[in-house]
Amino acid sequence: MSEKENVLGRIREALRMKAPPPGSDHVGVGEPHHASIPPAQMRRWLPEVGSTFDHQLVAFRKSAAELKVDFHLLDSPTELAGLLLGLRDAEAWSKIGVHAGELTDFAAAKLGLPVCRTESGYEVADLENCSAGITECDALVAQTGSVLLTARSGGGRALSVLPPHHVVLAKREQLVADLPEAFALIKTKYAANYPSFISFITGPSRTGDIERILVLGAHGPKKLTICCL
């Protein structure tokens, strides 16, 4: 017998005895439901986010500030270019990591710096030398201040975590209210063929492992800038 059959055999044997329903202090609960909890129901439990764009923007700004994220709502591509050039000069960028995309291509062209492009395969040392990694994303989550990105929308696994500064370029219509909506989006967008990597990025890399004191940039980026057009 294979180990798979051994383990499954022990599980099936063990499950012949029924366990009491969970939260037994909760009277009248039968066997728990076997269906997905609708987003509308989950939404009533999680932290509140309003339903309009303005409410969601307020929530996103609040989370971003708490997470020490630089968030910019921009009105035009010109403003975006100005912001990026400002960052380039202030931080003395020498090279950027980038992937193919409408906004990222625009940014790379405006910045006029040497680039490491990830979509066609890259050297790790080359990406490590970049001053910033610029990516697009799938969504911004108002509830938590998160950026949702995948191997496909964010130029792979390393671009958004290896360089010391991660710059996200997003569009206003990518702002979603909360986590249930973000997961629903992943399902409708990718269900036929999921990317091998999906991540919610909530602030710059951090640690509290030394006396619970917050330090940014533990292993990943020290800075996270989100530009929303």
Binding site: W45, F200, G203
Partner: protein, 471 residues
């Protein structure tokens, strides 16, 4: 060799009196409680979320076979290699086998309690491989050749001074009292390791049956780098980590963060569905998932305590446990410490050797109250106590209770005992707090209250006899 119980007693006694230790733990957990409560308060209906989380985990664990089959089918469909291990030994052999086959030399690891459970680092080092922990806390305790102190905060018992000293000794860095500088020293050392490592090893927080994904929650980005750069990725997954559906994470990720560290959401929550796919720029060429039983099925076979497998390893019960806060994480000598460790270790390593952990509890119930998936923790401590004495009754306890019930059931005898007790307590001062004292276990660090000069019965009688008493 001391028994685990004797060792526990000695170390617990020493640590409860260690004021420096107490100070460090109180600083760390004091801050935690404040932030956790604030984050929890942002939920519109925490009790409903908790009940739903408990029900989802119940469903996952009580149909574990079907969910595992579904998980494995979905993982394999996208090129992941799945291995099954019944025992720790098998898991070590599988992992060593993959590493040898790939002719790998160095392994970079992100935090995984399952690997502590099977003592993977020792096995890898013995076989001649270089293995580096990349989570800052784990890196620190690895340099100290210690197991993690806490399942979420591995280096919680150390001050920045301790860590600076350690880095100076082991890494040759200049001493500093600045946590940021200390973190940057570790960052520089570990950066090179990610880039040169042949194999990346991770644990897992959840496994999604419906989509065949491994979900990893972290703050530092070390797991993301471990899963991005090396050519081979290995994940060691306890079979109970299953969740049925992808959208269940919309509930579990914020709940794990809230109770685990007090954050609304942990910095990186990443889902890995396979090795690098066509038209993806990077990621490992091979992705191996090792499913670990290691006596989890024994816990599953106990319907009364099966809900202990709902555990999402948030560490919340450790953080609120008065025992953990006093005796510290290392005193347990188990992979999982705190209330959840006391509940499951007897199932994983033997009831008689580890029952003392279930007795080392005030049964205050703070663990049960905080648990985000409603594990009935403090009742399980009672269940362990009951099972242990049923399996191997203690002669002393049985005799004591026989004598006690003999006296308490006979009013005259009880009267006599009370009079004798009051009489003998006058002489208690002579032996109090010494080993001759029959109540030594209590009086070595506490006062024994005097037996009241008058019983309630005596008082009632005198009250009724007196003037003005109600008729």
């Amino acid at each position: 060799m001391k028994t685990p119980a004797a060792q526990f007693k000695v170390q617990a006694t020493a640590l409860t009196q260690d004021l420096r230790h107490r100070q460090l733990i109180q600083t760390a957990l004091g801050k935690y409680e404040v932030v956790r409560d604030r984050t929890k308060a942002a939920f519109q209906d925490w009790p409903a979320a908790r009940q739903a989380a408990a029900e989802i985990k119940w469903e996952a664990v009580n149909h574990l076979d079907a969910h595992l089959v579904q998980l494995v089918r979905n993982l394999e469909a996208r090129g992941t290699k799945v291995h099954w291990a019944s025992t720790a030994q098998q898991a070590r052999d599988i992992i060593l086998g993959i590493i040898r086959e790939k002719k790998a030399r160095s392994i970079v690891k992100s935090k995984a309690m399952t690997s502590e459970e099977i003592h993977l680092n020792e096995a890898l080092e013995e076989a001649g491989f270089e293995v580096v922990e990349s989570d800052l806390g784990e890196f620190i305790v690895q340099l100290r050749k210690e197991p993690p102190y806490h399942i979420v905060f591995p280096a919680m018992h150390l001050s920045r001074g301790d860590i600076s000293e350690l880095f100076t000794r082991e890494l040759g860095s200049a001493p500093t009292q600045n946590p940021e500088e200390l973190t940057m020293i570790a960052r520089r050392v570990l950066r090179q390791k990610y880039i040169t490592a042949d194999v990346g090893f991770t644990g897992a927080n959840f496994a999604i049956a419906e989509t065949g994904m491994i979900s990893i929650t972290e703050n530092e980005g070390n797991a993301r780098l471990t899963a991005a750069l090396p050519k081979v990725m290995i994940t060691l997954l306890g079979i109970e980590k299953i969740l049925p559906r992808l959208e269940d994470l919309a509930l579990f990720l914020p709940m794990l963060a809230t109770i685990g560290t007090g954050q609304p959401l942990t910095c990186y929550n990443s889902m890995y569905g396979g090795p690098r796919q066509p038209r993806e720029p990077d990621g490992p060429e091979e992705f191996h998932v090792v499913l670990l039983d290691n006596r989890r099925t024994e816990l599953l076979a106990d319907p009364e305590q099966r809900d202990a497998l709902h555990c999402i390893r948030c560490g919340g019960c450790l953080n609120v446990c008065p025992i953990f806060k006093n005796v510290g994480g290392h005193t347990y000598h188990t992979t999982y410490s705190g209330p959840i460790g006391s509940v499951i270790t007897p199932h994983l390593r033997g009831l008689q050797d580890w029952k003392h952990l279930s007795f080392a509890s005030s049964l205050c119930g703070a663990c049960t109250e905080t648990c985000p998936v409603k594990i009935n923790l403090h009742h399980h401590l009672l269940h362990n106590r009951r099972n242990a004495s049923k399996q191997k009754p203690s002669f002393f306890e049985r005799t004591a209770f026989t004598v006690f019930s003999g006296i308490i059931n006979r009013p005259r005898l009880y009267q006599c005992a009370k009079i004798l007790g009051r009489f003998f307590q006058r002489f208690h001062g002579l032996v109090k707090g010494t080993r001759l004292d029959p109540a030594y276990a209590w009086t070595q660090s506490r006062e024994l209250p005097p037996i009241a000069p008058q019983t309630f019965k005596e008082y009632w009688r005198s009250r009724n006899a007196g003037p003005g008493s109600p008729s």
